[in-house]
Chain length 314, copies 2
Amino acid sequence: MSLAEQVLEGNIRAAARLMRDIDDGRQEAIEELKQLYPHTGSAFIIGITGPPGAGKSTLVDQLTASFRSRGKKVGVVAIDPTSPFTGGAILGDRIRMNRHSCDEGVFIRSLATRGALGGLSRSTSDVALVMDALGMDIVIIETVGVGQDEVDIVKEAHTTCVVMVPGLGDDIQAIKAGILEIGDIFVVNKADRDGADRTARELSTMLDMRAATEGSWNPQVLRTEATRGTGINELTDEIMSHRDYFLSSGAIDNFLRERTQRHFMSILRDTLFKKTLQYVAQDDYLSGLIERMTDHRIDPYSAVEEIVTKMMPN
Amino acid sequence: MSLAEQVLEGNIRAAARLMRDIDDGRQEAIEELKQLYPHTGSAFIIGITGPPGAGKSTLVDQLTASFRSRGKKVGVVAIDPTSPFTGGAILGDRIRMNRHSCDEGVFIRSLATRGALGGLSRSTSDVALVMDALGMDIVIIETVGVGQDEVDIVKEAHTTCVVMVPGLGDDIQAIKAGILEIGDIFVVNKADRDGADRTARELSTMLDMRAATEGSWNPQVLRTEATRGTGINELTDEIMSHRDYFLSSGAIDNFLRERTQRHFMSILRDTLFKKTLQYVAQDDYLSGLIERMTDHRIDPYSAVEEIVTKMMPN
């Protein structure tokens, strides 16, 4: 029986193996993903993003418990920062969410940010696809930091929660502005800290300035203290409200089309590149070319033209 | 006279125009870059990275002044976070480094993180190339945040300074670990703050654990108060020491070869993709394919295989 078939039967071990293959960028994983694809599309995907120090892991832990208490099976994809040197996930072996470890309705997976071909958002969406096929009702994607990577990742989610925290300094203004448009729900975590009121107020003001379209979703600013579980139930309710809006307004159709297109483009990019690399790696052609470029005897743009003309004669 | 020729004559306006074309991803920019390429390679590139709130902009301002006082012409590429919604640089119009605005030996350019084809590290290195061709002795690249994007960007630099700041919370541990290997020099800025000793000590301990190879560079932890100019001269000295090490140890040869290869691969990836997109965009072929994928009638991997076989028959 193929890995894909085992995953569709709910086999956790098979899912873990397939995810490892995806994370490692193994070609075999693609055949399995092809088999899974027709059976996916039912999981609801939630993205959790925000700056380091905002308490995202604890919040995800609490959200997991909350969805479990509502009878949902929950998958968690946690993006861990990778050491560029060792290539491994730094936090991959940290003990995450101990209390769910005996719960078969929870599946947690750390994904290394190793910058694999196709990038992190591809791996993330492939891993989410496996969790979907495995029968998880909810898939939570937790990112590290707030950059373009994270924006790309949370685009995979139906609902995106942006987690802020009081007192992170001035540069945070920039972050706020950048992520304002990707958030469906804003959370001020560690709401017992000094400055929580101010952070919440600032966020609300910025959201008010965002031009609201008739019938469009109106993002709220919620407060939580994840370490004590305060505000989690309200956050879960708000996520489900956004889900209802998403499904009933028809916004989901556009979302799915755009996500599919992005996914497809990313695979296309990689595949073209891989096939070309295999070709140019023959007979020291590539290493000779790089030598000439390093010595500034040919510029990289002209070198690329030379290769593309060979590969794509039409 | 072409833009490239004007840049090589030191024309600031021409350089600014070319950089804008690069930032906008315009095809014409490539022909100009081809012309510039043989005349580049003499600027020394410094990367400044670290979490939001670390005071990087002020530090870069001070470093610029310091290099100017040593008779160097300084280019600054500041990566600004982009709003995914508007596509423009949020801080692009902020008044940066006022005091250098009348100095012809300083050229400052904000680059939007708009996620252009080829990614930010490509645009950054192209803009640095223009500054190099323009005759800048030093090019400082300042990133926002600490993620994979930033790691990719600072790989373009000969010397990378990682700027930390006391009291950014626990998640910072993860960031530290991730950037430990990319830093040639570590800076604890805002060194007058509580916890500066602890941050510096922690960094030193982590650096000590890094296996040192015989004759390799030994990164130091420096302290600065950028707002008051304290420690800037020492930092400038340390950067020049690293430069000397880089040139005399021969480490530069490997660095240049790897950077050229990365640059070339990135251009190759984009060009293959662009050419393929032009092809599939004809006759509604692409939109039909995306429709079939969205309806789960074909998986994206099989769709890509179909196209690649057409484009690359060999």
